[in-house]
Symmetry: C2
Subunit: 362 residues, 2 copies
């Protein structure tokens, strides 16, 4: 899976109903039962992923990683649904479960984030060196190898000789730093999955797979109202974005402050990250309502904002690496080029989002 | 004058005739007499600029610089016209004069090029530091001061404190290097203007202001044929450009090879530089034919390609400065960010040219 599209190839979280894919809202009920069915299905998926993770037993990294991804996917959707439709759910129960799900998906996300950040940065270094890019899959494989090994830098493929000293040293430095961070995140995730706190979450999800604690208000409630409110929160947040600038190609806005004293995180990125979270909530609410995966355009807009976040974090990682004491000037120079390159990716992602947003059906 | 638009605010090289501005070709003769009149006018301008330069006597830098710009402007137009319309001119005479004009305008261009490159790089450093940009005019003034002083780095304006150590050191390094190069270019230009070689050129231009040596073929010749050939050479060269890529925003093509071993000059820039020269020839041929300054769109396309060249050379200057021995990593990092920023300016200029080209009347 390419790091720019962490959910791009994700399987549909729910099969379309008998009514066909993405049945319009009017054709199916939109009451508490639909909400309960959605939460039960996501909970069942969560438990299935948990079983798959236990069966992989740490011996099959690919399967284990896939199981963790599935756990995160279900946890995000349950958490988002609890938030958007909270008037229809038992308040105390929902408010108790949400922070636990946030803790879980946050903890589980770090390992993948460090791995895909390193992937993104090394691919960019290869591109900037004019080398043939390492195929993403091969690159991930090579990095998996190294993550299990001693983390020494050994760029894969026939393009090693095309790297300048600076690019190669920058790659080695980033590899050391991010592989270390990834290894730590892996341990933390394993610890979390073995903790009493996690077992308590899993028990609550197991209960949810059987019976969803609806509030008295759920009887006869219309899911479309809270879903519309979620969409409105998104629309308001998007309206506050500098979309006019973002729609003008090569506006150079993302690299302003690129050399400012407080480089990371960049304050200008925060409203975009917030829109990404609100878009996710809207997307999951659409899934609940339509009983089908979100529209392709909504998914594409989500991907643009994920690319925005990934590039912003990669740029910050390059800037942080450049503050390592006693690095060679050539290494620092390469990291500066890389930082600016990723900030331009940030700008490109905003440009892409601008176009996708205006094409979204509303 | 902003460095991106070295000819943007230039006065019209020729007043429109009595027929009004940009009279269509059909309304005026297009024979050897028109060519001779154009060359006489440019020669008169050349001699006027030369007189202004001598009168400024090195005591008034602004006036002296303006006179040099006017000398270059006339020399470029005479040289281009000799090239495009060579079948209508005395061959031996034209082929003898052209290399001398090329030598002259090349020699005179360097001082301005170093000054505007420094201007561009320091403005970019301020922008990248999130500082309020120094107004271009004030910046040039400050730099003029420094060029006459000891070249020490003293950023003007209230934004000095916003520069990080790396950006400030990178600025100081670039200032030292480019001010030195500029001072040398200034001496070389002064030497050239006092040389016997220059006096020989000036004598020939003085003769040209009186009598243009036309070839026997000029009688009854149609200027539109050689002008069309110049346009065709331009069109062919543009057709060979990667315009499809350039028209796709954020294609990241200009920074490919940004960290490759042979960074400057970048081979991918050469066809664009060539198109810039051919566009100039086409533009001057249009001036000859229409008796008026080139159309705004043609001038805008020319400016986009000049911005392309300026950004490419600024990026190369940042990369070269980063190879200075014993610089601090923070300096090298800032130069890396600056290099990538200017390569994105290169990409933005290609994007702009793509749009302008497709809007040109043909």
């Amino acid at each position: 899976m390419a790091p720019q599209h962490p959910e791009g190839a994700a399987p549909a979280p729910r099969s379309p109903g008998a009514g066909g894919p993405a049945a319009p809202k009017g054709d199916r009920p939109v009451d508490g039962d639909v909400l309960a069915a959605y939460l039960r299905e996501r909970s069942t998926e969560f438990l299935r992923a948990l079983r798959a993770h236990r069966e992989s037993g740490g011996g099959a990294p690919e399967e284990s990683a896939e199981a963790v991804r599935a756990l995160r996917r279900s946890a995000r959707r349950i958490s988002g649904t609890l938030h958007t439709f909270r008037p229809l759910l038992d308040t105390e129960w929902a408010e108790g479960l949400r922070p636990e799900l946030a803790w879980l998906s946050g903890t589980l996300a770090h390992e993948h984030a460090h791995a895909s950040r390193l992937e993104r940065l090394l691919l960019a270094l290869h591109r900037l060196s004019g080398a043939v890019p390492v195929p993403a899959a091969a690159g991930v494989g090579a990095r998996e190898e190294r993550a299990r090994g001693n983390g020494a830098y050994a760029p894969a493929g026939p393009d090693r000789t095309n790297l300048t000293v600076g690019a190669a040293k920058a790659g080695a430095l980033l590899d050391r730093r991010l592989t270390l961070a990834r290894t730590r995140a892996h341990s933390t995730a394993l610890e979390a999955l073995g903790s009493g706190r996690f077992h308590a979450v899993a028990d609550r999800i197991a209960l949810l797979a059987g019976e969803v604690p609806l509030s008295p208000a759920a009887a006869g409630a219309d899911l479309r109202l809270p879903a519309a409110a979620a969409e409105e929160r998104l629309t308001d947040a998007v309206a506050a974005l500098p979309l006019l600038t973002a729609g003008h190609p090569y506006n150079a806005a993302a690299l302003v402050h690129g050399l400012a004293p407080d480089t990371s995180p960049q304050p200008q990125d925060a409203p975009w990250h917030q829109v990404r979270l609100l878009l996710r909530l809207h997307r999951y609410a659409r899934e609940v309502l339509t009983g089908a995966p979100a529209e392709t355009r909504l998914e594409a807009a989500d991907q643009a904002l994920t690319r925005h976040r990934d590039a912003a974090e990669a740029a910050a990682a390059a800037a942080e690496a450049a503050r390592t004491p006693r690095i060679a000037p050539a290494t620092a120079y390469a990291l500066g080029v890389l930082h600016a390159d990723q900030r331009h990716e940030v700008e490109a992602a905003r440009f892409a989002f601008h176009h996708l947003w205006h094409r979204l059906p509303r």
